[in-house]
Amino acid sequence: MKTILRLTICLFLLNATYTSCQSKMVQIKGGEYLPLYGRDSLNVKIKDFLIDVYPATNREYVDFVKKYPKWQKSKVIKLFADESYLRAWKSDTILGENQKEKSPITQVSWFAAKEYCECQGKRLPTVDEWEYVAMANKTIPDARREEAYNQFILSWYEKPKTFNQTIGSTFKNYWNVYDLHGLVWEWTIDFNSVLVSGESRKDVDTDNNLFCGSAAVNATDLMNYAAFMRYAIRGSLKAKYTMKNLGFRCVKDIKK
């Protein structure tokens, strides 16, 4: 009997260590917002949720692949990641020479990012959730019409190799979240859900033969060029793709 009791305690402790190594999260107050692309150009409702303050780091990802070897670069299967998955790493569990532990993890596929979050009881954010948090600047929740905000993002898009910086090196936004702009692009759970036609190179216009409901695809605010670029890049991704400047962070629903 005593053995069983101790065993249970051990298991609890094991579980506790699991949860303790999760990164810091903050709560986002939900609301309504008008996304660049939307559901028939209507406001989208966002529920309250928790979001990681920083993108997942190299260090955290090393811990992840140690625990789940199927995501190590020599073991990952082709269905889940392309050839450049973790290419800069020295080995399955050792970072490359120029990679900092505190830099955001990049060159990971959507499958890997999704599983990383799920293994912590979290998930990837939806495009709407991500955009909702990311439209805040330092002081206001929706800064999309602020010139300085757009200027900052666009000048970042021109800057090379920002993925080498460490987390927290950009600004803390209205929600106390860092690095949504300025470090890396981030995976979202439904990254490919906006039908900006399969591939912009291939399709001349929205193809009614290919997409049912493509009338829903309309830019509501073309002023927001930066967001337009994000939607375009997400639309060009496939889930197994990996990119040097594409990382991720996780979110969590709030249990009512």
């Binding site: 269905l79 799920e118 439904d190 997409f211 496939k238």
Partner: protein, 238 residues
């Protein structure tokens, strides 16, 4: 006593870790065996072993059976996905249980008014044109992108309405995350645009019996010729 405790702890941890690994399928019991020399004519045996006449090793009879027997799954196979699905008959399955047949798959949802009826018709047309002697080697699968509303009962009713009855048709309800993952493997895009409407790309995909993607047909009401040719080719080369 103390060692015992640690031993127990070790065993429990081990089982915890192993339990994620899932059992191997036991489809072998449906397989029939036959002597390769046909010493006793067409006689089949239910178990592996040697022929009582010429002592040669018995071989599985049908082509399908041989495929089922190999447990190899390639890196690009959709059978690597381990999420659970419900069929229209309420049976819980994993994709790898579909192993052994050429698979024709499409993603739909039952409340769709625009494209899905045509997509479903496309699937039916393809099924129609598969030669009778090959029908047993193909499985047609409709995966719902609306797992919340498309319960097994709804899928069953949808199958009935759309004449998708018979052993060659399977309709699947997954989890939201499982459906996303599957759609991403197929490169199918979809988004919920209202509680009952989704926009989605219209793609019919063909997989070989090992679960590797061999062909995709994009668009609605397009000429099925290429797809049918590919299905027959896939059956014949596997």
């Amino acid at each position: 006593m103390k060692t015992l405790k640690y031993l127990l702890l070790l065993v429990v941890t081990a089982t915890l870790l192993v339990s994620c690994d899932k059992k191997t399928s036991k489809e072998t019991d449906k397989v029939a065996y036959q002597c390769p020399m046909k010493c006793e004519g067409d006689k089949v045996y239910s178990e592996k072993g040697n022929c009582p006449v010429c002592e040669m090793k018995l071989r599985p009879t049908s082509k399908v059976a041989t495929k089922v027997l190999s447990s190899f799954i390639s890196e690009e196979s959709i059978f690597n996905l381990t999420t659970k699905w419900n069929t229209q008959d309420g049976k819980e399955i994993e994709l790898k249980e579909l192993k052994g047949k050429t698979l024709v798959m499409v993603m739909i949802y039952t409340t769709c008014k625009a494209a899905c009826p045509r997509l479903t018709a496309d699937m039916r047309n393809i099924e129609d044109k598969i030669p009778a002697d090959l029908k047993n080697e193909v499985e047609f699968i409709l995966v719902s992108i609306d797992p919340v509303n498309d319960t097994p009962e709804k899928l069953k009713a949808f199958a009935k309405e759309n004449f998708l009855e018979g052993p060659q048709w399977t309709l699947l309800q997954g989890t939201e995350s499982g459906v996303r993952e599957f759609a991403n493997v197929l490169a199918v895009k979809y988004k919920q645009i209202s509680p009952l409407d989704f926009s989605h790309s219209n793609i019919i995909s063909v997989f070989n019996p090992g679960g590797e993607l061999v062909h995709q047909q994009e668009g609605l009401g397009v000429d099925n010729k290429e797809t049918i040719k590919k299905i027959i080719e896939t059956i014949n080369t596997h």
